[in-house]
């Protein structure tokens, strides 16, 4: 009872002050780690990219844009950029399109929908390190199951991860395997939200599958498509586990993406400045990409 009186006797000013103090202390536990390990490091990365620090010596020099110039003068770096583009497009596009097709198929009268959904989603849950090891066994050039199956149907046997032409497709297949069911679940949610009467109306008008897809489904799921392509692109730019297990960026740099280059600069060659510069380039690319997708969305994405 006395508590109630106390609460009521507080003046408006006290209440507001009280609210501000509470807000401060409530925000702190989240903000401290966020500032120390996210926002701070972001700003720090810009600074580091202008130095030649080797992570060990206490002294270093400010070298300006030297790290960036060194990267862009190096033909190997363009290969890395190309690999990143190859990997990103190769892993994002099939995951988005495949996810939509699977979701559409699953909504047709399929038995055991939840079982399918669970099985298709399970690759996303399991440790990629472990599964990349399994995939490297499946793709083993001499004893792997995949080459055995190819030979069994008289197709040419491929050198997979040991050749610079086929290593990237292997890494891409593993990545798509992991994200396909994940993106399907997003589309399932999006498709569930489309009112049935739209399809019923289309059915009466005798619209066929393809024009239904083009004129009803695609526009209505376009927010999901946009979201998935942004998130999967950011994911692709940070893909590491499958590359590290299956190819270590090789053979001959064929699967060295920006992130793998970053990792090698920082933790194999201890060139913090160069690594930070690559990090900033990754940041700029994803920023530009997110912006582009946002602008495209304004034009083509239909929000209900």
């Amino acid at each position: 009872m006395s508590e109630v009186n106390n609460a009521k006797s507080l003046s408006l000013w006290d209440k507001m002050k009280n609210e501000k103090v509470t807000a401060f202390f409530f925000c702190l536990p989240a903000l401290i780690p966020l500032i120390v390990f996210w926002i701070g490091p972001m700003i720090f990365a810009f600074y580091l990219s202008l130095t030649n620090w080797d992570l060990m010596m206490p002294v270093y020099d400010i070298v300006g844009l030297e790290n960036y110039r060194f990267l862009f003068d190096n033909p190997e770096f363009y290969r890395t950029l190309w690999n990143t583009l190859y990997f990103t497009v190769g892993s994002v596009v099939p995951a988005v399109i495949g996810g939509l097709l699977l979701a559409i198929a699953l909504r047709a009268k399929v038995l055991g929908r939840i079982i399918h959904r669970t099985l298709l989603f399970s690759p996303w849950v399991t440790p990629l390190v472990a599964m990349a090891i399994v995939w490297s066994w499946l793709f083993d050039p001499s004893r792997g199951l995949i080459n055995y199956l190819l030979a069994a149907v008289n197709l040419p046997v491929l050198p997979w991860a040991s050749s610079s032409d086929w290593a990237m497709p292997v890494v891409i297949i593993v990545s798509v395997w992991r994200t396909l069911g994940w993106s399907m679940v997003f589309y399932l949610v999006a498709l569930d939200k489309i009112p049935d009467d739209i399809y019923d109306a289309a059915k009466i008008d005798g619209v066929n599958f393809w024009s239904k897809l083009r004129h009803i489904t695609l526009p209505l799921v376009s927010p999901t498509t946009l979201f998935l392509s942004v998130v999967l692109t950011v994911e692709a730019l940070r893909a590491f586990d499958q590359i590290d297990i299956i190819t270590q960026g090789g053979p001959a740099g064929a699967t060295r993406t920006l992130l793998y280059h970053y990792y090698q600069s920082a933790f194999e060659r201890f060139n913090a400045g160069e690594a930070a510069a690559i990090g900033i380039i990754i940041l700029l690319i994803s920023g530009a990409f997110a912006l582009a997708q946002f602008l495209i969305s304004k034009k083509y994405v239909h929000y209900q």
Binding site: F26, P29, A30, P41, A108, L145, Y262
Partner: protein, 306 residues
Amino acid sequence: MSDKSSQEISLDESQRGETITKNAGTRARYKEKIRVLLVNIFMALMSLLMVFPFLWMFTSALKTHDEIRAFPPTIIPESPQWSNFWEAWTSAPFNLYIFNSFFTATAIVILHVVTTALFVYAITQLRFRFRNLLFGIVMATYMLPVPVTYVPSYIILSWLGWLDSYQGIIFSNAVSVFAIFLARQSFLQVPNELVDAAKVDGASHWTILWKIFFPLTRPIFITFGLINFVLMYNNYLWPLLIIRSRRLYLITIGLRQFFIEQGAYGVNWPLIMAASTLVVMPLLILFFITQKWFVKGVGGSTGVKG
């Protein structure tokens, strides 16, 4: 007379028309049935294809060294070598690795629950300046490519003396922007009347948060708790960078180490597959039991209107 015949003819025609539509009807139904059958076959094949690596991992784990290299490969092992699991488990300190992963992932998820609940309560229920700006900044970090922060965070951890330590793994992951995003949506749906009633009763913000908001929004905490637990158990690159000593290895790093060591003298695939199975199994079981929470989280995290 002529009238009648025309009537008969028209009757006849309408009858014929009916049988035609009836035929078309059965044909359409027949077509529909085939379509449904094909979709079912397609989905069954797709599901099988997606889980095949798990099955192959498991059967390979049960083979002998000779059988796994046999051509043509056997699908079901001739005499299952269950002892492979034990051999794999004991040839590296996997129990320690699993403990490290479970321990750090659990600690991180508990921190996520606390930091998320407090922060989201503040930005949804309390009035203060820069509230929206603060939320905007936090959300912007969601789109931030994490790798940019690796090198600087590594340096910051070394200043704190937290490299190669549990604290390093745990506190560098103490906030989940994804969790904040999910929780904010459900906090906004808690009815104001409940909050007002509690305020009239003189309840403090702390009490309102844990006695009203937390129970009402528990599903979202379970969802992101499970998803983040899985992400932390599977985490590889960041712990690889900050962990040096074997006693702190997480399961992902330990497994990769085992993979390298077993590959030294001709790859010992059965043991590697057995170890992989032991690493993957806890998560698959956890996922099969809790799958609806995952789907909820994924569906809710679209951040998409419509």
